[in-house]
Subunit: 191 residues, 2 copies
C-alpha cells in the first residue's frame, strides 16, 4: 500500500522566535488533497545527569503552555552557535545546573510529536559530575531551580502525577531499565 | 525562589483544525515581561497493544512535519464525542489496527513538549486481542498499515534510527522494563 504524501504548497502563517507555523496542502496516496498544520521548531538536547549518590538532576520551572511548574531533566534548544547537540547539552548543563560532567553517552534521538511538529530531541546520559565555581548565566527570561532525586523518589513523583513531561518520564524509565539490567548481570555473575 | 509567571495578555495568531497558535505576554518572576509562543493542541491517546506471541502493534504512516514514513504505536486525537481517553483509544485500536482488546491498563499521562505546546498524551497498555470482522473506517485523510514486532525487533529498529517517535520509543522501553521486572520476580520465586 502506497503511504507517501506529497507537498503541493505551503502557506506560511507565522514566524516566531521558537515556532514557525505553516499550513501545507498535500496530495494523499489516493490522489485527493488535504491540509496539514505544521509547527516547525528548533531541535533540542536533554540529559539524564546522574551523581555519585545515584540521583538524577531535575530542574523546576514554569511552563506557560500548561500553566504549571514542572520538574524536568535539563534541556535546551540547540543554538546555531553550538557545534553539536552534545555541545549544546554541555552548555545547558552548566547554565541550568552549574555542573560539568566527565562521562557522556548519547541515549537516543526522537521527535516529540511528529503528527504536527518537527521538534527533535537528542537525549544524553552523563555522570562523573563536578560542581562549577564559574557557572554560566541563564537566559534573561529563564528562571529555574535544580535538585537531585533518587529513582524511588522519581517513580513516586511520576505515579503521583507530579512529573508530567514526556522526555523526563522516558529518562526515568530508561534509567530504571539500566539499573535492572546491570543488577541482572551482577546477579548472573554471582550465581 | 519564586518561579511562577503570570499571563498579562494573549494574542491569537491562528485557529486551525489541530493547532491553535497564540503569543502570550507574561510577567516574569523578576517583574520584567517576556513573550511565549503557545501551540494549543487537542489531547491524544496511544496504546501499547501486545498479542499472545509477545509482539507489539505498530502502524506505519506518512508524517508530513518530518517528511518521512514512521513506525508508531496506534494513537489518535481524543474527539469531543469520546467519553474518555480510554474510549478514544478503543475506537482508534479498532480503526487503525482492526482489533478489540479485553484487558486494559493506563500506563501514564504526559505532555509531549510543555515548553511550547499543551498537547497531552494518555498512554495505555492492552492485551488479550481479538481481530474484528467489522473494522471501523479510517478518517478520510488517513492512510496507514499495521504490523506486529517482537521486543528484539523493536530494539533493533530503535538503534538503527528506524523508530523515531517519542511515545513509541517510550512504550518500547516501558515494555522492556515490564518484561525485565517480571523475569526478575519469576527468578526470585524459583530461587
Amino acid at each position: 500500500m502506497e503511504l507517501k504524501e506529497t507537498e503541493i504548497s505551503s502557506q506560511p502563517i507565522f514566524k516566531g522566535r521558537i515556532v514557525d507555523l505553516s499550513v501545507r496542502t498535500i496530495q494523499l496516496p489516493n490522489g485527493e488533497t488535504a491540509t496539514r498544520e505544521v509547527a516547525a521548531h528548533q531541535p533540542a538536547s536533554a540529559v539524564m545527569a546522574i551523581n555519585d549518590k545515584k540521583q538524577m538532576l531535575l530542574v523546576k520551572q514554569w511552563r506557560e503552555p500548561i500553566k504549571q511548574l514542572t520538574l524536568e531533566i535539563p534541556a535546551g534548544l540547540i543554538d546555531p552557535s553550538d557545534a553539536s547537540p552534545l555541545d549544546a547539552m554541555k552548555r545547558e548543563l552548566n547554565e541550568e545546573g552549574g555542573y560539568r560532567a566527565d562521562y557522556w553517552e548519547e541515549v537516543t534521538e526522537f521527535y516529540s510529536s511528529p503528527g504536527f511538529t518537527d521538534e527533535k530531541l537528542y537525549l544524553f546520559y552523563c555522570d562523573t559530575l563536578t560542581k562549577l565555581e564559574d557557572k554560566r548565566s541563564l537566559d534573561e527570561d529563564e528562571f529555574l531551580t535544580s535538585d537531585w532525586y533518587s529513582l524511588e523518589d522519581l517513580k513516586r513523583l511520576v505515579s503521583e502525577g507530579k512529573i508530567v513531561d514526556a522526555k523526563t518520564i522516558y529518562a526515568i524509565t530508561f534509567w530504571e531499565n539500566m539499573l535492572l539490567t546491570s543488577a541482572q548481570s551482577t546477579k548472573a555473575d554471582n550465581d
